[in-house]
Each structure stands twice: as structure tokens, then as C-alpha cells.
């Protein structure tokens, strides 16, 4: 029995929709259908945060809210969720919410157009950390642009918001919301359609496998942080999309003795803690990926399956020896991550197959790791160059090396000549720089609006030097120096 409608809570109101296209986005629904116009469109590509709303979802750990970009959030994926917009934010006395009070008191708005989105991002932060540190506030706002204030008063507001209160009416409503969302969980596959665009939400991972096996032409959509742009930017049609973001069966994180297993739908945000616990070198790298909203929506599996040459996860994951689990029907196969990327826009994913998990093996002893990202703007930018290094040293000699780069070729790719130049050599700066020189045999990068070919090559080569000094404990990155 398939359900032919989606159901969600919009602030304090239950909404049931039958006619929903896969390409319908939450923002247009709010502004055009619901006449809720507090949520703004700044870019329609998930980069400015003016459309930030909260989506509450019932997961294994209960009801959890995340900030998301309404502009690229497919409406159909709200099934069973609680959508909270700026119009619903209020304080305990019905007046301004503590976050709003802080923003007003600290002159955090000028033109005010980004402000609803900033308030919603800060609200998400306030729920977790009503008294955040400056670093936490900055991280929470990585997905929000403000062109007027220079952010200083917004950060002052963020640091002060807890002083205006730490409870709000939404918290009191939480039990009722949870009960409603619980009551809606019927285990059914959902199929909705409008104007020749169909959205399917499988009931389970097995249902997904069955459905894809029978409908291999269906477009799999996880976090929609890329597919959303196909719709909003390129006006591409989505005749048939299978939305999988709600499948908790693909969201598991399991630390096994020999490897960390990450379900394909683990979001960047969820992945951070377990990843950094196992691979501390990933911390800085991870904090340069996207903004909070995209990190909440975007998934590891999506980033890989998408096949982009500038995806952030493949270079460091390839360096770590990541393996990919792919599933077709009931059949599973496992491949090395680097083998998944065949050519530009071409991956080793067969029709009807989907990425189920990513396996990151526990690193060998005596291995030095690094992950680097270089971009025009430090945060929330697409890589000009991304690199993952894993170099194993035994008795002063390099015995193994995995060097992977993004932004340097049509796919994320290992660097065979540079790796070969290292193996058997003493672990010295000179050896690393010889390997860097070999990079020219492995890559012929392109020039585009992010960087020139020359810069890409030079910077990539210089990362070998940074790697050495970082291992020596010498300041080698801006973050090392206050």
C-alpha cells in the first residue's frame, strides 16, 4: 500500500499535500502557496542562508532539528517532519525570542534581508549552545551571508543570546510535535506527483533496493544539495526522483575493530565527531566544508555518488583507503573508493545500484595523515585544490603512500608518480619535495574561475612541504599561528 500524499507540520499546523512534484522546493511552497514570506530567497542555491528554516525529524534518537536551506530542500522530503519558519519563532511571553532580542539589542540587522535566515541559524545554535563560543557562532553562521553588517554585531548577538533566555514555547510543544510525527509513521512507501514529476519515498532500505532494481532510471536524491541546484539553477526536469534522506537504515555509524563504517546517508554534520575521533587530522578540513545548512542536508554517500571532481570527501577518504559498499537488490559489492570514479561524470555505479556505506579502515601504525583544502574563500567555498595524504614510515623509510587530490583532474584521483617517488625513500623534506615535483606527471589541472592551472599545481606541490612541517610541529598553516 503506497501512500499518495505527504504530511508534515508547518509551524503549528498539519499540512497534507497530494500534488507535489519531485522538483518542488520548500521555499516556493512557503512563499507562494502558504503566503509565509518571512523566509527570503537570496541565491536559490544554498549558499547565502537567507532561506534558512528548521526541519525537525524523528530519528532513532528522538526529535532533532536541523537548519536547512529551504531553496533547495525538496518539498516531498518534508514527509513526517516538522518545518519551523521565522514566523513561528517567539519568546515565552509571545514576544521576541531570546535570539531575536539579542539581534535587536546588538544592532545585528541593517537591511534585514539576510536576518530571518541568520536568526534561524542562530536559533538552531541556541538550541544546542545557548552560550556559544565565538568559534561555535562562526561555524554556525558559515552558511549565512550578510552584506551589510560585517558580521561583528551578529557575533556579539550570538555570544549574548543565552542571556535573554534559554527556554521557549517550541520546547513546550516538543512532546506534542513528537507524538504527531510518531503517529504519522506508517511504514508506507510514499508516492506523490505533479506535472509529470514524481517523487518516491521508499519505506525502508529494502524497499529502496527493490524499487531501484525495478526503476533503474530513477534519480536517487539524498541531501539534494546538488540536485536541488539542477532544479533551481539549470531548470532541469526531475521526472522520477527517489528521495532517501529519511532512511535511518542508511544512517548508521559503526566503529568496528578494523574500520569505521559510515552509512551512505550520514550527513557531514553527523560524521564530524566519529570521524575526527578516529582521524584527528580531519577536524580542520571538515570545518571548511560548506555551511551548517548544507552540512546538515548533505550526505557522505551523496558527495561520493555525485562523482564531482571537486567533492570534498573523496580526496581524504581515498588517502585513508576508503572502500565503498554498493547494493543492487540484495546483492552487495565492495570496491576501493578511487575505483568508483571512472571519468568526468562517470562512476562505477550500475543501473539500479546505490551506495550503501563507506568503510574507512583503521589506519596502519606509523602512518602520517593529512587532509588539506584550498579555496578562494576560507570557508563555505568549493575547493580549488583538495588533498589527502597517508604516508607510512618504518624505520625512517617510506613503505607506503596514498596521495589523493581533488580539483586537479576530471575525477578525484590518486597520484601514482608522486606515490612511487616516495616509496623506499627516507622520510625527509627532500623526498617529499621530489614527490611534489612528480605531480606534474600525474595531473594537468584546468584553469577556471576558482584558480588557474598554474596555481593549482603550485599549491598542490607546496602542500607536500606543509605536510612535512606539520609533522615536525612547525607552524605550517594559518591556524597554527594566532
Amino acid at each position: 500500500m503506497h501512500r499518495k500524499e505527504i504530511r508534515f507540520l508547518l509551524n503549528d499546523k498539519a499540512v497534507t499535500l497530494k500534488a507535489v512534484a519531485a522538483s518542488d522546493m520548500v521555499l516556493d511552497h512557503l512563499r507562494l502557496e502558504q503566503q509565509l514570506r518571512g523566509t527570503k530567497e537570496g541565491c536559490a542555491e544554498g549558499d547565502c542562508g537567507a532561506c534558512t528554516v528548521l526541519v525537525g525529524r524523528l530519528g532513532p534518537a528522538g526529535l532533532a532539528y536541523e537548519p536547512v536551506n529551504a531553496c533547495i530542500r525538496p518539498l516531498a522530503t518534508l514527509d513526517g517532519c516538522h518545518l519551523v519558519t521565522i514566523e513561528h519563532l517567539r519568546g515565552n511571553d509571545g514576544g521576541l525570542h531570546p535570539v531575536q532580542q539579542a539581534m535587536v539589542a546588538h544592532h545585528g540587522s541593517q537591511c534585514g534581508f539576510c536576518t530571518p535566515g541568520i536568526v534561524m541559524a542562530l536559533y538552531a545554535l541556541w538550541m544546542e549552545h545557548p552560550h556559544p563560543t565565538e568559534a561555535e557562532a562562526e561555524r554556525a553562521l558559515q552558511g549565512n551571508l550578510c552584506r551589510c553588517t560585517g558580521y561583528a554585531p551578529i557575533i556579539r548577538a550570538a555570544l549574548a543570546m543565552g542571556e535573554y533566555g534559554t527556554t521557549d514555547p517550541l520546547m513546550a510543544e516538543r512532546a506534542a510535535v513528537q507524538a504527531q510525527l510518531q503517529a504519522w509513521q506508517d511504514g508506507a512507501r510514499v508516492v506523490v506527483e505533479r506535472a509529470g514529476s514524481r517523487a518516491v519515498l521508499p519505506a525502508s532500505v529494502d524497499d529502496l533496493a527493490d524499487y531501484l532494481a525495478q526503476n533503474p532510471q530513477a534519480r536517487i536524491v539524498a541531501g539534494a544539495t546538488d540536485v536541488g541546484l539542477w532544479v533551481t539553477k539549470f531548470l532541469r526536469d526531475l521526472p522520477l526522483a527517489v528521495f532517501i534522506g529519511h532512511l535511518d537504515g542508511l544512517r548508521a555509524i559503526t566503529q568496528r575493530p578494523d574500520a569505521l563504517h559510515l552509512g551512505a546517508l550520514v550527513s557531514y554534520e553527523q560524521a564530524r565527531a566519529p570521524l575526527v575521533a578516529q582521524f584527528p587530522h580531519m577536524a580542520r578540513y571538515w570545518d571548511r566544508i560548506a555551511g551548517w545548512q548544507v552540512r546538515a542536508m548533505g550526505t557522505l554517500g551523496g558527495n561520493i555518488a555525485n562523482g564531482s571532481p571537486i567533492g570534498d570527501t573523496p580526496p581524504p577518504f581515498i588517502a585513508l583507503g576508503a572502500r565503498l559498499v554498493l547494493r543492487h537488490g540484495a546483492a552487495l559489492r565492495e570496491i576501493a573508493l578511487e575505483d568508483f570514479f571512472l571519468d568526468y561524470g562517470k562512476q562505477d555505479r550500475r543501473a539500479g545500484e546505490f551506495v550503501e556505506a563507506i568503510i574507512l579502515p583503521t589506519p596502519a601504525a606509523n602512518t602520517h595523515h593529512a587532509a588539506y583544502k584550498i579555496s578562494k574563500r576560507r570557508e563555505e567555498d568549493i575547493s580549488a585544490v583538495a588533498a589527502g595524504f597517508a604516508v607510512t614510515v618504518e624505520n625512517g623509510t617510506i613503505t607506503a603512500a596514498r596521495l589523493a587530490f581533488g580539483g586537479m583532474a576530471a575525477t578525484p584521483k590518486r597520484s601514482p608518480h608522486a606515490e612511487a617517488a616516495l616509496i623506499g625513500q627516507p622520510f625527509t623534506l627532500a623526498s617529499l619535495q621530489s614527490a611534489a615535483a612528480a605531480l606534474g606527471h600525474d595531473f594537468t589541472p584546468l584553469s577556471d574561475m576558482r584558480a588557474s592551472a598554474q596555481y593549482r599545481m603550485q599549491a598542490a606541490q607546496n602542500l607536500f612541504t606543509r605536510f612535512w612541517w606539520e609533522i615536525q610541529g612547525t607552524p605550517a598553516m594559518l591556524e597554527d599561528v594566532i
Partner: protein, 776 residues
């Protein structure tokens, strides 16, 4: 309701001039209730338009087939130049070089050719892609070098400023340096994009709601396009989601197209481009290529400056004349040039028509002045701050290249105070020590001043009107020609009115800007909004107050001097009458309680042909000290600390002014670091959305950011409450960041060479400069 009899009289009003009041819309902003143009409830049957543009940068249209567009679902109409009943031109300076829709010659990629009107925006947008257009391409020039190489013309007449005899002065100088500086453009990236909603009225009437800094110009452009007089067109704007100069002329296209469609179809029409089209077809800050020839002595005193300022103006003149003029007006920044010749070269290119952007050419002039200071300092091995001081305008050396005397210079004090409070000397020594260790991370520090001329150089623009009504219940309606784009203009003018009537600001209803209430307004631009509109509003208040005093003196038989506006009340002789009661009494006595105020800036004049005059009423000043770190392996940079001391005269609202200074600083940092516009070989802009065009984030702001207003400053000119303009001047403060990055780069060659960084100092430019200097 009467006051309790024993209540103490009110001693202060809420929202007086000089108070740090919150922005009038702050609560609406944070609750999402502030209404922007796209939030206005559309009239029933509202249609949506979208613009279809060219897909070559330069060429002739050989065939235009819009049949598939017309046949697309939900499409109601398609408009081309043939559907324009009036003039197919929206050039703001009257050069008639800016068609709404081009008919033959395409001059930039994306140039509007037609518009689709459909029942939904989505349908209109999709239909645009169905046009079949053939072109006979022509060679294109998208940048300054290729425009010069192709012998492209100027889009408007260049300017020359000259004082003294440049050739012998250069020849006689003990030191001479020639150099070149490239300064990139900048997209406004206002968070709210361009938008217009046109609602047709009866006869020839039409009302347009738009996001615009210049409703009067939009009104005139719509009137020209429709072929109707200005009195048929009303343009309204309550607020913009940011402007920064990008809505001074660039809204004209959208207003005109929406109005054309609305009048043609007899239905409301809304036009909102997506972010990409907004960036692809609207003008930006001008890129400049500046060639300088500089003479100076052993003490670092500049003796002669010869500068050529070539600008990428784009396909039409727009405001490129006054923008490139202002670059020359600021090519001295704070420094006296004994002999000087400055020339502009406003070049045509096959790109969007560049336009106003905060600073309006001034920043490109100032950065050239600061580059020349750097050149002198590196050549002589001196601290650039010493060179700056040696060249500041001073007694006997106070004539600018445009022959205006600098009479209000406070830079010596500002810079001294900032040097002290920022501990510049100690930190500079620490930076030098750090770099001497030779690590990967290098540091730089710089302290740079700003002097910025206030007034429109188009002298007639320096006028403003206001309309104040006092209703018989004592509530006040305030309207003026200035527009609110976030800068707090509405709040500051309301404070002026509250102060004038000595009533709480809560009595004052701030109302949307509309061409119906105040005619012939100037753009809210050139930082002049408060100076002009505050004075006009005050004039209106004073007219009403004069009538009220006259009434009270006669009504209660007291001397006019015995009538005083006190907080919340009016003293008439010995009695104090609550404001509302007083107003009601005046109404009953048939006193006119409404007035139109007017202001024009005194003293200014400008003879462009001669290059002489007094274009500026006064100057605003500021200084910033910035310290940065750079990664010499990747070119990445970080601003570790910035200290700012800025002059806003006697601030009308210190909180809002501080916000302007902080905001301008970070916006200026973006211009000089991460914001890069890239056109590809086909002449297509590749950086047309925030995914590819990177404005600063919260974490990019200086790690330590100490911003202060010079609270001792007071405008020597009789401006509104002795305040100074604040919008643009602080935009130039982060030139200190740019120069500090340069110092860090220069450290790899032990400061032997001027680093000659070009802007923006992206990681790529920084790394390439480091690599270049490593070879020295």
C-alpha cells in the same frame, strides 16, 4: 489620557538626535515581518515577467525566432523593442546609449533582447530558454587590456585634473618610479536582488514598487519608456535588502520592463531575475588599471604624480563618467602633490555596464595613492606610515588636484591616536621580528588613512525634499526623498524630527519613499542621504514649529520666546501643555500642520571642463591599522586584527554609524581579498552567484576588531547636527589590510622590493607574488 498629576516632567525624549537608537525596522527584520518588494501581496491576476538575453558578447542579431517562447505553457505575452511605446532607452545621463531591449547589436553576454510574461515566474523563466536567436559574432573585448588593444572608445568624456607643471617636476625629482596597479571590480551582492512590481492604473497611470535607491529616476525611465509624462508614474520603495549603489540606476531595466508589460496587458506584472541573471546583466564596481609615474625626494616627500586611470566601464556610459571622475578626485587621498596630472580613461568593454558602488570610484583612487606611498617607502626602506605623515595635507600644502583647499583636515590627530591605541610601533616591530625568523607563515601590518569628499559632484544632485504632517492627535507622518537600504537613514531622519518637536520618536510614523510625496529627488547615494534629507526634514519641522509658536504666542498672549518645545510638552509662558493637546489646540485654531521642507547644499561648485572648483562641501576622515598573516605555501590570508578610528562628525546615531563602519570595512576587505569577477573567453561572466563569487563570511572578519568613532570630531560645516556622512568613507579603511598583505609578501625578499600586489589579493595572487619575490 492625562498624565498623573504628580508625575515628574519628562526630561528627555526617546530617540533624540545623537542617541544610539535601534534601527526603526529592527524588530520587523528579526521576525520576518519587514516587507520587501517581493513580499507585497500581489494584486489578483498578477503576471510574472522574465528577461531573455543574448548568448554572445558582441555581434549582430541575424534572426530572432520567439515562436517557441510564445507557445510555451502559461505564457501570456512576449515583448521586444517593438512593443515599447515610448523611448527604448534608460541611459541615466541622457547619452541614449542604453536600450532596454537591443534590436540588432549585442554588446555584452546576456544583454536583454526580449521579455516573457507568464502566469507564473517559473513558466516565464523556463520559456526564456526556448528562444532561437542567431548572431553574426564580432570580436569582443571584456577587459581593459583587450579594449585598449582593440582601440575601443571611451563610453563618456574623460576628465583631466592638473596643477603645476608635471613634466619638469618629474624630470627634476631625485627619485622617480613608474608602475601599474590592477584593481578588480566587485559585485554588489545585495542579498535582495533586483525586483519590480508594476500595477497599471487608469488612463496613462502606473504604480511601480521597486527595490531602488533612486525612485525619481525609475519614475522618469518608466515614463520615457511608456511615452507618458512623469506625473503618470508613481514609484514606491519602503526598504531595500541592500543597495550599495547597485540600485541607483540598475533597477531601471526591471522597472521599465515590468511597467511595459503591465501597461500592455492591463494586469499587474512582477519581474524578479534570479541571482545569476541579476549578476550577469547588472553593472558592478569598475575595475581599474592605473599607471603612475611618481617623483619624490630623499625624505619621501612626493614631488610629482602623473596618473592614468583606465576603467572597465562596460557597454554603456551609465554612471561611468562621474565614477571615473571620483577616482581622480580621490587619487590624492590624504596627500599633497606639488605637481600633478591625473587623467581618466573610461573605456568601453563588452561587459555589463559598470555602475555606482559604495565609494563610487573613490576607493580606486585612494588605493592608487596608497600604492604610491608604498612605492616610496619600499624604495627608501622606510616605514610607510612615516611617508604618509610626510605627505599629509598641511598648512601651505593644502590644495587638491582639483584646486579645492582642504580646510577641515583632522588626519594628524586621528592617525596619532590610532597609532597609539593600536600600538602600531610595537606591533610593527613584532611583525618584523616574526618575519625575520623566516617561517612559512608571514605577517604584515599597515596603518592607512582615508579622506573622502562629501557631495555629489553633479552639483544639482545636492538637493532634497521632505514632507512632514502633524495630525491633530499629535501623531507625526514623516516622508522624505531618501531611501532605506539598511543604512538607518529613516531612523536618523526620524531622530532629527523627534529632536525638533521634542517628542518621543514613537509619535513619528516613518513612511515609504514615494515619488508622489516628494518630487525630483536625488539618488540616495554619495553617502549624502542623512545630510540632505535630514536637513530637508528639519526645514519642514521648522516651518511647522514657526507657525505653532506664532499661534501659541497669540493664543495664550505670550511673547514668542516664551513658547518652547520641551520633552513631551510645549511650554507656553508658565504652563506646560502636553504635545498632543498643544497640537489639537493649534488644529482647532486652523494652523497648517503640514510642511514641505527643502535643502540644497551651500558653497559647492564645479567646473568640469576647467577641472577646478569646490566639488565637496567637506571631507570625512578615518584611519585603520590592520595586521594579517599569510601562508606562503598556499597564499591564504587572515586578518588577525584591525583597529579603526573613524570620523562621522557629531554622530546622529553612534550605534548605526558604528555599524556602517564595521560593515564597510568587511565589505571593503571582500573587494580586496576574496571577491573576484571572472569572465571567460566567450565573454561570459563565470562568477554569477555566491557559489562562485565569494563575499566575506563571519569568520573572515578581523579576528580582533576594534572600531571606534572619533567622538571629539564635529563637522566644521553646518551640516545636520554637525554630523558627517558615513556610508562610503569607511569602505576604504581595509586598504590597510591589502597593504599589510603586501608587507607579508614583501618579507620573503626582505622588503627590498615593493610587492606590487594587484587586487583582489586572492590566495592565487598572493602565492604568485610570493613566488615572484622569492626570485628577487
Amino acid at each position: 489620557m492625562k498624565d498623573a498629576p504628580l508625575a515628574a516632567p519628562q526630561t528627555r525624549i526617546h530617540g533624540a538626535a545623537h542617541d544610539s537608537l535601534i534601527h526603526d525596522s529592527a524588530v520587523k527584520h528579526v521576525t520576518g515581518r519587514a516587507e520587501y518588494t517581493d513580499d507585497i501581496t500581489e494584486p489578483a491576476g498578477c503576471l510574472h515577467a522574465y528577461i531573455g538575453g543574448a548568448s554572445v558578447a558582441h555581434g549582430h542579431i541575424t534572426a530572432l525566432d520567439l515562436s517557441a517562447v510564445r507557445a510555451a505553457p502559461d505564457v501570456v505575452a512576449v515583448l521586444t523593442a517593438a512593443d515599447i511605446p515610448g523611448r527604448n532607452d534608460i541611459s541615466p545621463t541622457g547619452l541614449k546609449d542604453e536600450p532596454i531591449f537591443t534590436t540588432d547589436l549585442v554588446q555584452f553576454y546576456g544583454q536583454p533582447i526580449f521579455a516573457v510574461v507568464a502566469t507564473t515566474r517559473d513558466a516565464a523563466r523556463r520559456a526564456c530558454g526556448l528562444a532561437k536567436i542567431s548572431y553574426a559574432p564580432l570580436p569582443h573585448a571584456t577587459d581593459i587590456a583587450s579594449a585598449v588593444a582593440a582601440d575601443y572608445p571611451n563610453v563618456t568624456a574623460p576628465l583631466k585634473l592638473e596643477r603645476g607643471d608635471i613634466a619638469p617636476a618629474l624630470a627634476a625629482a631625485p627619485h622617480r618610479i613608474q608602475g601599474r596597479l590592477h584593481v578588480g571590480g566587485q559585485d554588489h551582492m545585495y542579498l535582495e536582488g533586483q525586483i519590480a512590481l508594476a500595477i497599471p492604473g487608469e488612463d496613462d497611470e502606473i504604480t511601480v514598487f521597486a527595490s531602488t535607491q533612486h525612485p525619481s529616476e525609475a519614475q522618469h525611465m518608466v515614463a520615457h519608456a511608456l511615452g507618458v509624462p512623469a506625473n503618470a508614474v508613481v514609484v514606491n520603495v519602503r526598504r531595500m535588502g541592500g543597495g550599495f549603489g547597485g540600485k541607483e540606476t540598475q533597477m531601471n531595466l526591471f522597472c521599465a520592463v515590468a511597467a511595459l508589460a503591465a501597461k500592455r496587458l492591463g494586469r499587474a506584472v512582477k519581474l524578479r531575475p534570479d541571482r545569476d541573471q541579476d549578476m550577469e546583466i547588472t553593472g558592478k564596481r569598475h575595475d581599474f588599471r592605473i599607471d603612475y609615474d611618481l617623483g619624490f625626494d630623499d625624505d619621501g616627500r612626493i614631488l610629482a604624480v602623473d596618473g592614468l586611470f583606465a576603467a572597465r566601464c562596460g557597454w554603456s556610459s551609465d554612471l561611468s563618467g562621474p565614477v571615473t571622475d571620483r577616482a581622480l578626485f580621490h587619487a590624492d587621498n590624504a596627500y599633497f602633490y606639488p605637481a600633478v596630472r591625473l587623467q581618466s580613461q573610461p573605456l568601453k568593454t563588452n561587459t555589463v555596464s559598470n555602475t555606482a558602488f559604495r565609494g563610487f570610484g573613490g576607493p580606486q583612487g585612494v588605493i592608487a595613492a596608497e600604492r604610491m606611498i608604498e612605492e616610496v617607502a619600499y624604495a627608501l626602506g622606510r616605514d610607510p606610515l612615516e611617508i604618509r605623515r610626510a605627505n599629509f595635507y598641511r598648512d601651505g600644502a593644502d590644495i587638491t588636484p582639483y584646486h579645492q583647499r582642504v580646510e577641515d583636515n583632522i588626519l594628524a590627530r586621528l592617525v596619532d591616536e590610532l597609532e597609539e591605541s593600536a600600538q602600531y610601533q610595537a606591533r610593527r616591530r613584532a611583525v618584523l621580528d616574526w618575519n625575520a625568523k623566516g617561517g612559512i607563515i608571514r605577517k604584515g601590518i599597515a596603518l592607512t588613512p582615508v579622506k573622502f569628499g562629501i557631495s555629489f559632484t553633479a552639483t544639482w544632485y545636492n538637493q532634497a525634499g521632505a514632507l512632514v504632517h502633524v495630525y491633530n492627535d499629535g501623531s507625526i507622518h514623516l516622508n522624505h526623498g531618501g531611501t532605506e537600504m539598511g543604512q538607518g537613514l529613516y531612523t536618523k531622519v526620524a531622530q532629527v524630527v523627534a529632536e525638533a518637536f521634542q517628542c518621543d520618536i514613537g509619535r513619528i510614523k516613518i513612511t515609504k519613499t514615494t515619488t508622489e510625496k516628494v518630487p525630483n529627488t536625488s539618488a540616495t547615494a554619495a553617502s549624502s542621504g542623512t545630510d540632505l534629507n535630514g536637513m530637508a526634514a528639519l526645514d519642514a519641522c521648522n516651518q511647522i514649529k514657526a507657525r505653532l509658536v506664532d499661534f501659541a504666542a497669540r493664543h495664550w498672549s505670550v511673547a514668542p520666546e516664551a513658547v518652547q518645545f520641551l520633552p513631551g510638552r510645549v511650554a507656553v509662558g508658565a504652563q506646560a501643555i502636553p504635545f498632543a493637546d498643544f497640537i489639537h489646540a493649534a488644529y482647532m485654531a486652523r494652523v497648517q500642520l503640514s510642511a514641505a521642507g527643502f535643502y540644497k547644499t551651500p558653497e559647492i561648485h564645479w567646473d568640469r571642463a576647467a577641472g577646478k572648483g569646490q566639488p565637496f562641501y567637506y571631507f570625512a576622515y578615518g584611519a585603520a591599522c590592520s595586521e594579517v598573516s599569510i601562508d606562503t605555501l598556499t597564499g591564504e590570508t587572515r586578518v588577525d586584527r584591525a583597529d579603526v578610528l573613524h570620523d562621522v562628525g557629531r554622530s546622529l546615531n553612534p550605534a548605526l554609524d558604528l555599524g556602517q563602519v564595521e560593515g564597510a570595512f568587511v565589505q571593503g576587505m571582500g573587494w580586496l581579498t576574496s571577491e573576484e569577477l571572472v569572465w571567460d573567453g566567450a565573454g561570459r561572466l563565470r562568477t554569477h552567484a555566491p557559489s562562485t563569487y565569494k563575499i566575506p563570511l563571519a569568520s573572515d572578519r578581523p579576528r580582533v576588531f576594534n572600531v571606534r568613532l572619533a567622538d571629539w570630531s564635529e563637522n566644521v560645516k553646518a551640516t545636520i547636527k554637525r554630523s558627517k556622512a558615513v556610508g562610503e568613507p569607511p569602505f576604504m579603511l581595509p586598504i590597510s589590510v591589502f597593504e599589510a598583505i603586501g608587507m607579508a609578501v614583501a618579507s620573503v625578499a626582505d622588503y627590498r622590493e615593493c610587492p606590487r600586489l594587484d587586487a583582489p589579493a586572492t590566495p592565487e595572487r598572493v602565492l604568485m607574488a610570493v613566488e615572484r619575490l622569492r626570485q628577487v
